[in-house]
Amino acid sequence: MAFGKFLLKRTLQGVLVVWGVVTVLFGLRAITPGDPVNLIVDPAVDQATRDRIREELGLDQPIYVQYADYLQDLLVGDLGYSYQSSRAVSTMVIERVPATLELAIAATIVALVIAIPLGVISGTRRNDPVDYGATSFSLVGISTPNFWLGIMLILLLSVNLDLFPTGRRPVALHDALWMFLTTFYIGDLLTWLHHIILPAVTLGTYFTALITRLTRSGMLDEYGKPYVTATEAKGIPETLVRYKHVLRNTMIPIITVLGLQLGTLIGGAVVTETVFSWPGLGLRLIGAINNLDWPLIQGIIIFVGISYVIINIAVDAIYAKLNPRVLDE
């Protein structure tokens, strides 16, 4: 199969997945009890006004008409208006993307900075106390729930030791960077860093544990391969073998996992953002769910779904380029 055809096929599959997400969400909205008008206006508002609002929102139409209208609007990028705030859902989603991306990327950096050295050490010193420590950390890290870890970090490092703020995001990264680039003022950048450390560690811990395990097992696999014995037999220094050959080969699956995990991090930041009041998509989603603000709930989940699909297609495409045999499967 040609690469172009492969990409087209994957894209069509992605469109089908997004359509599925949209349809399931619409179905959930349809079967959720409660009159949306009750969520929009004060309970004391009279029936005539309620009926008028219901009509304006199209809620008096049969469900298939509402579904067709919704799909039609989606095709032109119109996600509707929030019941609670009357603001355009597309704006409300897009303005929260930077905070979530900042957190996802910071969590990835935390994971890489800790996990790769730890995995390398663990993989090269098998059955050493360091290895036991790293594998124990991986086990604990994978098993620790986000919300518990976040709360414990806040209690210990914020409330008791007063080292870090409890979260929030007093300044956005792009504003802090702009300030730095235009005035060389670094204070905002440090403030941003100070505020993101605990949320990033919380969100990144599972990921750190996962990459540590992957790196360790990858290193052990590679060490068992003949080319390592051959390079060592040639007298190449062990450090060079470890970093130039073994680690480089180990990194290929890790980079694939990294790509896929970015989608998971964007969708999975809900708990961390809630614990730390980090103003990203997750926190907005929780607020929308609490208010049963369906247009906003749909908008956020569709956005996350589309991001996930795009990342997957991109990873597939890169994989196909690196390994053309995939095209024939």
Binding site: G34, D42, S86, L283, L292
Partner: protein, 524 residues
């Protein structure tokens, strides 16, 4: 104030951050980069107020919720100053009197909006019409509180006529609680309701103007230099949002916030024990009760409804579930509201008498289910479960408990009095106008939006009370209605919950029953 130390550009936070990230080695090299180019660094006296919610949109006429007014009132000032005792004092409106046509309001001259336009009587009239007439502007929740006002008209440059055909005191309660003036010319160029997402989406006449706004995250206010009245006393105020009680408590304890609202009982002890902060509380006008739809068996019997009240130990629930932060209700209207009857006592738990009343009602052996939302009111599901357990202790009533999504409960509340879908449920109601009518008419007038009890006499008494011109006479009528309703027992009267705040102990501010936080009342 500690809050001042936590600005994004504060020296302390920069040093803390620097230490925390381990870049002290390079500190000397970057020291020159730490000076805030805006120059307002740590000299700014900043007050941070963290609420469970801030505003849904920047429109001052759209919603009717206390936390939104707290944020918007400094920017779009109220027409009147409302004292903690619910007295109305002049502010934007300097004089007001009732005429044959309605209420005539005289407005202060020389008031300007933050964009420099002068405020006119036309703006005031437009503001009211915008809320009560859907063709004029928006579907405002505040219309529910302005039900008595039919139309607004500017009579001259400084006089506005509010047409109404109810008692002057009822109309006054309504227009004095709402009506943050908007600039007609400016607002007609905005989305309806205003939906902007930056500081330009605000244009009021208040003592503070918005300098930063990030929806659902924070709003930053600074004094408006051309304010017509007394100068603002706080140099910079930040309202931010944290939906989690523990998050708000932590923000207070770490000095990131100076005032936080709605501390739940579980977090009270932690805040009280922390250094430099304290708990301050006030009984609110928010009343929590169990609705019994009187058109549905067994709740169609007055004896049965009274039995439910005798079965429940509401004082015990307040102690056990609310940590004491509540007041037992004696009637549908909480203490502090015009028309509350101070001579009534709460129902005391008496299981034997309750069983007798159930026998008298003819519904002995009945099975009922109490529904409750979860997370909408202070420990709501816990409160309802305790009440259901107590009712279940009656030998002749089997009471189950279940939670339901709030929209289901809200639907039940809006359903007719004989709707049997969910006839027995917990809900809350804030009598936010400070007048009993807002707590009585929606529930006890025939075919009202939340009709709970169909009782012709009580319905007529309420409608009559709306037209009694003499204030004392009207108060007496409302008190009598409350006494009648205590006997009719349309609800199981539970409690008015306390508003519990965490406050830095060096801040001079006391909570109010109406849950308002006015910046001009804060002495920092």
């Amino acid at each position: 104030m500690k809050g001042a130390d936590n600005q994004s550009t504060g020296r302390r936070s920069v040093l803390k951050a620097t230490g925390a990230v381990g870049v002290t080695a390079g500190l000397g090299a970057i020291a020159g980069c730490l000076d805030d180019p805006t120059g307002d660094d740590d000299e700014t006296d900043e007050l941070v107020i963290t609420q469970g919610e801030i505003i849904e949109n920047p429109d001052p006429n759209d919603h009717i919720t206390g936390p939104y007014f707290n944020v918007l009132d400094p920017v779009y000032e109220p027409l009147f100053n409302v004292t903690p005792e619910f007295e109305f004092e002049p502010r934007v409106v300097t004089e007001w009197e009732d005429t044959d046509d309605g209420a005539e309001l005289t407005i202060q001259e020389g008031i300007t909006f933050h964009n420099g336009d002068e405020m006119t009587a036309d703006d005031v009239a437009y503001t009211f019409n915008r809320m009560i007439d859907p063709d004029e502007g928006i579907e405002s929740d505040q219309a529910a509180g302005l039900g008595a006002i039919d139309n607004a008209e500017a009579l001259d440059e400084t006089t506005v006529l509010l047409e109404h055909d109810v008692a002057p005191s009822l109309a006054e309660f309504e227009y004095a609680n709402y009506g943050r003036v908007v600039n007609q010319e400016w607002i007609e160029d905005q989305d309806q309701p205003i939906a902007g997402n930056d500081a330009d989406a605000f244009n009021g006449t208040g003592p503070y103007e918005v300098v930063e706004y990030e929806p659902d995250v924070q709003i930053v206010l600074e004094p408006f230099d051309d304010y017509w009245g007394d100068d603002a006393t706080l140099e910079r105020v930040v309202f931010n949002q944290d939906g989690e009680s523990s998050g708000r408590a932590n923000a207070l304890e770490t000095g990131e916030s100076d005032i936080v609202d709605n501390i739940i009982p579980e977090d009270v002890a932690g805040v009280d024990d922390a250094d430099g902060v304290e708990i301050r509380e006030e009984t609110s006008l928010r009343n929590v009760f169990l609705v019994m739809k009187s058109g549905v068996e067994p709740f169609d019997s007055t004896e049965f409804r009274q039995a439910m009240n005798y079965a429940v130990d509401n004082q015990g629930i307040i102690e056990d579930s609310l940590g004491g932060y509540g007041e037992a209700m004696t009637q549908p209207i909480p203490d502090g509201v015009f028309g509350h009857n101070p001579d009534l006592d709460p129902y005391e738990q008496d299981l034997e008498y309750a069983e007798e009343l159930v026998e008298e009602s003819g519904h002995a052996g009945v099975e009922i289910t109490l529904y409750s939302p979860e997370g909408r009111y202070l420990n709501d599901a816990d409160v309802a479960e305790m009440a259901a357990d107590q009712i279940d202790q009656l030998e002749n009533v089997d009471c189950d408990f279940d939670t339901a999504p709030f929209p289901d409960i809200s639907d039940a509340n809006s359903a007719p009095y004989d709707d049997d879908e969910i006839p027995f449920f917990l809900i809350g109601w804030g009598v936010i106008t400070g007048d009993s009518d807002y707590g009585l008419a929606p529930f006890f007038v025939e075919e009202a939006p939340q009709e709970t009890l169909r009782n012709e006499d009580i319905s007529e008494m309420i409608l009559e009370s709306q037209t009694i011109e003499d204030e004392d006479e009207r108060e007496a009528q409302l008190q009598e209605i409350n006494a009648e309703l205590r006997e009719e027992a349309p609800w199981v009267f539970l409690h008015s919950q306390d508003s519990v705040y965490g406050v830095r102990d060096d801040i001079g501010w006391e909570p109010r029953a109406d849950e308002s936080i006015y910046l001009w009342d804060i002495d920092s």
